[in-house]
């Protein structure tokens, strides 16, 4: 580990930029979601605070700050406080591996537009996803409320079930690119060879599992209000409640960033290599497309029944993704050995 002071400064600045961007992204994601859903349901949505309601997130934030902070008397106080933090931190950390653009030259230094290029980036991402489960489970348990506990158990069962299919969908892409690093995977898609074209099945599986992993409609079983009040965050109020939402929205942004890099060529697009700012723009547009899809689904689809959710995860997505991995493996071997005249 030979790092100069400039390297350390670069890492710190990049981390701060990512955290600030994600927090701002979270704030405006709430505004975006409410406006888009309102439009889809022929309503207006928040439009009073600032132009087009653009200052609404600020008003919401101030309101949540001044709410009374309630901790249930029989709750496990430390874990009750820890749970929302685990959710948020694991979501923020996941974004570190996403390349948002090509390298740029700033102040005479070549700066890569990602925080960490590791050869295990995708494992790191999946690992953080499974650590995020703790936030939900602990919130349910520490609240000492039966609805919260049931919501927490449901959430963890759901996330564990869909993690498998997601991992296998990612594996198909990894086999094609020959690397676990997102930077390498984006580079392997140069020239418009997006992996969505080569791996349509893996893309669809990833799309379904990413919604289940972020507990969004129609997979928002953990907080099914008719059955479980609000699920794992029933007892939470004020800023701690907001932290769960922050975790959910940032996880949406991070997982969309990974999906863009895996299947839609990341920041790549026409002239992105010559003009780095175009790459960042392409990445942003693709990211927003995914986020719009999340909102669109929530406004469109009713919630799945719990047994149907488990059925879909274990009996449809898992065998499908396994079959996809097998087919991909055969194709990769055929490509590398020149069998079937491929490659």
């Amino acid at each position: 580990m030979n790092m100069s002071t400039a390297d350390v400064v670069e890492i710190v600045v990049k981390s701060l930029v990512i955290i600030l961007a994600l927090l701002t992204g979270f704030a405006y994601m709430t505004w975006f979601e409410r406006r888009v859903i309102a439009r889809l349901q022929s309503r207006v949505g928040p439009n009073r605070v600032g132009p087009s309601g653009l200052l609404q997130p600020l008003a919401d934030g101030v309101k949540l700050m001044f709410k009374e902070d309630i901790v249930p008397a029989e709750a496990d106080k430390v874990l009750y406080l820890l749970a929302p933090l685990v959710t948020v931190v694991s979501a923020i950390m996941a974004f570190a591996i996403v390349p948002v653009g090509p390298s740029v030259t700033l102040f005479g230094r070549t700066v890569a537009l990602h925080l960490a290029d590791m050869n295990i980036a995708l494992l790191y991402f999946l690992g953080l996803g499974s650590l995020g489960v703790y936030g939900v489970v602990l919130a349910g348990w520490a609240s000492n409320n039966k609805y919260a506990l049931l919501g927490g158990l449901r959430a963890s069962a759901q996330m564990i079930s869909y993690e498998l299919a997601m991992g296998l969908a990612v594996l198909s892409v990894v086999m094609l690119a020959g690397s676990l690093s997102l930077v390498d995977i984006v580079n392997a898609q140069a020239g418009g060879r997006w992996f969505i074209l080569l791996q349509p099945v893996a893309f669809l599986i990833f799309l379904v599992t990413m919604i289940a992993e972020t507990k969004r409609a129609p997979f928002d079983l953990p907080e099914a209000e008719q059955e479980l009040v609000a699920g794992f965050h029933t007892e939470y109020s004020g800023m701690k409640f907001a932290l769960f939402f922050m975790g959910e929205y940032i996880a949406m942004i991070a997982i969309s960033g990974v999906a863009v890099s895996l299947f839609l060529g990341g920041w790549r697009g026409p002239f992105a290599e010559q003009v780095p700012i175009l790459g960042v723009l392409y990445f942003f547009v693709k990211l927003v497309a995914f986020l719009f899809f999340f909102v669109w689904l929530r406004a469109t689809l009713p919630r799945l029944r719990y047994d149907r959710l488990m059925h879909l995860g274990w009996k449809v997505l898992l065998p499908l993704s396994l079959a996809n991995v097998v087919v991909t493996a055969i194709a990769v071997v055929a490509r590398d050995t020149g069998f079937f005249g491929l490659g």
């Binding site: 580990m1 496990d76 295990i120 650590l131 489960v133 602990l138 158990l153 963890s156 564990i160």
Partner: protein, 185 residues
């Protein structure tokens, strides 16, 4: 002051502290969480040793998957603290013996160069090459492909066994008895 040494010191203290806390925690859920913390600290030690793949797998498999299942079971057990007596009598002398044996083995292993004068084969360069996913995959799937497949077969057998056991319990209860038992709750 070496940065690497500083990080190692922090991680070493954390891993020992969380391990002790896990043993002495009266609340089983807290115990599970200390164990997760311990796994995380050990995973970071792997990163420090130049083996990021092992670190990722440690988090993914142990901290992420297995411990969540542990937590499931422990959470459903209820809030009463675990009893302090031993379930298996006479394990203390054995624990002490095996602990000492392990310590002796580790001390020899760490100081192998000083004792024999022959440097160990795991130099920093070798470690950094072996820790990469590609090197690991080549070792697993070329040199050790048979043990690897046998292990996966063993795991599959275990899984099928679990399914069979879970299924049989249902069949053993006749329908009317099951409904009666359900009715008394």
């Amino acid at each position: 002051m070496n940065v690497q040494l500083l990080v190692f010191a922090v991680l070493a203290v954390t891993s020992v502290a969380t391990a002790l806390a896990m043993i002495f925690a009266r609340n089983a859920v807290h115990g599970v969480l200390f164990m997760v913390g311990n796994f995380a600290a050990v995973a970071l030690l792997y990163v420090l040793l130049g083996s990021p793949f092992l670190a990722a797998v440690q988090i993914l498999v142990y901290a992420g998957a297995i411990m969540v299942l542990f937590l499931f079971v422990v959470m459903l057990m209820g809030p009463e603290p675990a009893p302090l007596w031993e379930h298996i009598p006479g394990q203390r002398p054995f624990a002490l013996l095996f602990g000492l044996l392990l310590a002796a083995g580790l001390i020899v292993a760490v100081n192998v160069e000083k004792l024999t004068g022959v440097p160990g084969m795991m130099t920093q360069e070798v470690l950094e090459r072996l820790g990469q996913p590609t090197a690991l995959a080549q070792t697993l799937f070329e040199r050790y492909v048979l043990p690897f497949e046998v292990t996966s077969l063993l795991l599959l057998i275990g899984m099928i066994g679990a399914v069979v056991l879970a299924k049989r319990e249902k069949h053993e209860l006749p329908a009317e008895q099951a409904s009666r038992e359900g009715g008394t709750e």
